[in-house]
Symmetry: none
Subunit: 244 residues, 4 copies
Amino acid sequence: MPAKSSAPRQKRSGRFPAARPGSLQPALRDAERTRRSILKAATAEFAESGLAGARVDKIAEVSGVNKRMLYYYFSNKDDLYLAVLEEAYIAMRTSERSLKLDNLEPLAAIRKLVEFKFDYFAENPAMIWLLNGENMLGAQHLKRSTRLKDMHISLVRTISTILDAGVAGGTIRPNVDPLQLYISISALSYFFFSNGPTLSTAFGKDVRSAAARAARRAHAADVILGYLRPPPEALLTSPKRRRN
Amino acid sequence: MPAKSSAPRQKRSGRFPAARPGSLQPALRDAERTRRSILKAATAEFAESGLAGARVDKIAEVSGVNKRMLYYYFSNKDDLYLAVLEEAYIAMRTSERSLKLDNLEPLAAIRKLVEFKFDYFAENPAMIWLLNGENMLGAQHLKRSTRLKDMHISLVRTISTILDAGVAGGTIRPNVDPLQLYISISALSYFFFSNGPTLSTAFGKDVRSAAARAARRAHAADVILGYLRPPPEALLTSPKRRRN
Amino acid sequence: MPAKSSAPRQKRSGRFPAARPGSLQPALRDAERTRRSILKAATAEFAESGLAGARVDKIAEVSGVNKRMLYYYFSNKDDLYLAVLEEAYIAMRTSERSLKLDNLEPLAAIRKLVEFKFDYFAENPAMIWLLNGENMLGAQHLKRSTRLKDMHISLVRTISTILDAGVAGGTIRPNVDPLQLYISISALSYFFFSNGPTLSTAFGKDVRSAAARAARRAHAADVILGYLRPPPEALLTSPKRRRN
Amino acid sequence: MPAKSSAPRQKRSGRFPAARPGSLQPALRDAERTRRSILKAATAEFAESGLAGARVDKIAEVSGVNKRMLYYYFSNKDDLYLAVLEEAYIAMRTSERSLKLDNLEPLAAIRKLVEFKFDYFAENPAMIWLLNGENMLGAQHLKRSTRLKDMHISLVRTISTILDAGVAGGTIRPNVDPLQLYISISALSYFFFSNGPTLSTAFGKDVRSAAARAARRAHAADVILGYLRPPPEALLTSPKRRRN
DNA sequence: TATGAATGAGAATTCATTCAT
DNA sequence: GATGAATGAATTCTCATTCAT
């Protein structure tokens, strides 16, 4: 293996090359482009087939890059897989961060979050399959990722703030654990997509048609918002719980 | 993941079955035992590693059965995988059917169903991983299964009945789609287990500790029952629905 | 890798199959024969090319065995190399043990030992090259060999006894370290063979012709026996030793 | 094994050579420095891993020189290997030539030679491993070296002269073949170092500790000088031999 | 039924070497 | 002279599957 040290290090900051007429370090640009091609093809392949099922040859072929280059840039299949995973996580977290929930009413904010989650998974099915695969492997790659160390979910804090505001305003029931809520919001959308194939088979109809999607999107919001409604007078079903 | 559900462990002590009248000949019983050993080991292996990652050698070794026998009984890896899948599905459906929800109050019935789902996934993690794997393969095996043709979910009908009773009794909101509800109930538990590894990593704490499990179980019921509460007077989120 | 556990375990004791007319477990016999073929070809290849230079394909081809079988029997190239090394060592140690030096006069015994060493290397050049290669690798395989744990040199004790007898009888100088002597005896023959190619080149004549070999054999004995002669009266090179 | 002998480390501090009158142009001096860096790194790598095991990438990395440059200066791996070999040989021969044995007493001269050989190998382990590797390859590179054509051993002539003087003076036995003696002197030291790893393993103790080295050095001299002692009256063990 | 041995088609990975700038 | 990117031909190793008994 050409040793990590020899791997390309220069990461120019801007997304586009400085508009210098003429050459503008083409080798460098090619390197970054090659890296991108590989990552893109690898994402598709790993999402489709998982780590074990993915074929390095296929990735090379699809990306139009010499197979040897995969090793030049990513050392081995496992590291490439990790890079794909990191990339996908970073994209998702970045998306989450760009959500502006602060200046919305609490319930509107929650609804927006539910719908965002749904839409994100709808538009990025690769994320579903990558997560599925990584979970089957016990998240072993994710654990050893250094790039993701501080990438981890800040959304829970945001949810906590929203809940507090809603409780104060009387529009949201008290004692809702924001982490559990986050998991539930994710679950209602994620499961629909991740288990779409078996659900479709089991119910004998395509759960992923446009109509079915729309229905599911609305339902997910209904469930979460329905749950969050404050009780009329009485107590909740389970007496009292604290957030853990 | 020794798949408790799909391989009800029949390790009888003696080499021959107790001479129960009408039982099969010893040889055949041994054959059945061999089949069971293989299925059990295969369930664990496929659950742990998926179809592509699973190793026929490992299955043979773990089951203590000669590799040639796998082929004798199951033709090839793919068919063995399908057999494992069918076994697991049948076990789950059987379990579901044994639930006696009829003579419970509607809300109690729903709560029981939610908790049953949670407990089933908690006790049968193999089911989670098998489903994950099969979904990544587009449910292609499930689709061609003949044994599962009529195994498909009757629970939705039951749920429908319960909902109707609850609506009539004023304890459940109207216009709840039973299929969506079934999916949501599954989702709230399934996702928690299937994505446990990455969630634990992302949140930096073990989401699957006993305490965390208990909290999750209660939360899932809260969400579903909270959602199902009928609205006080006002309208629900989706416009056209009314109450009186 | 088909797992060590599945590797053939049955090692029948006798060298020849029990003369049972007819079948006599041919599968078993084939296994042992196959193992032998592989080891033989591997010994030649590793001796000729070293660990890094050896080609698994070549070994398979020369041994007439399917390449896959190398892995079936020996797991990987490294383990095969170790097996070859162990085999060679065991053969050498066994040879050494069959030397009957006890009932010879001390000087005759030493001479016999010197000549034995010379002849062994002459007849088993593979041993030379295997040792060369293994030493270049820092003896890393040898160190982790369990089979050789107790195979290690007993010859030094024998030499010690011989030296003592010679000193007592006045035919051998006192204070000779038996380990150093063993190393020197080995060195005088080993180096001649191991460095034959460069010596031949440097001196512009084939050091390994029959005549040159005979001369070297005699010279080695001369050096060792000449060295072992007791001093006439005078003191030896190292001061403190005395005689009377 | 940074091969002290073959690569007299010229790491001058400044980027350009001190403007010594008559020196080459900076560019050229840099070229020479690059060459040296490569040779030094290559010596270490080939010594450590042999020709087949050595990695061109590693050499480039260690020498801090772009891989392309290796090819610019040395055409290919094989030629680089040969260059390393020649360098090492030349260094050794040069060292040997600088030995002033002429004005010493015969026995003192021989002792000095023995100790020189020992020390040289002790201080230049790379020489050991390069020779080992080249011998395993049948000295094929050495044979085709033109630079070494006339580099070959003049030491034997010197030894011959010393022996003659010793015989004449009665301090050395007659009929000693100088070539055999040279080989034996080399052998006693070389083998100790070249086979150190396996010897240490076989004897279960580190043969290369400082104490063990000192003992070996003394022993080597003892053996050679003990052997060279003239016989009291009687004949030698093997009747009479001529130098060949 | 049962078993150890065998196989061929890949799969990942490595490596010396060359290209383009 | 110097450099990073690229390449194709091996090379080791894996795996599901079948053979012979």
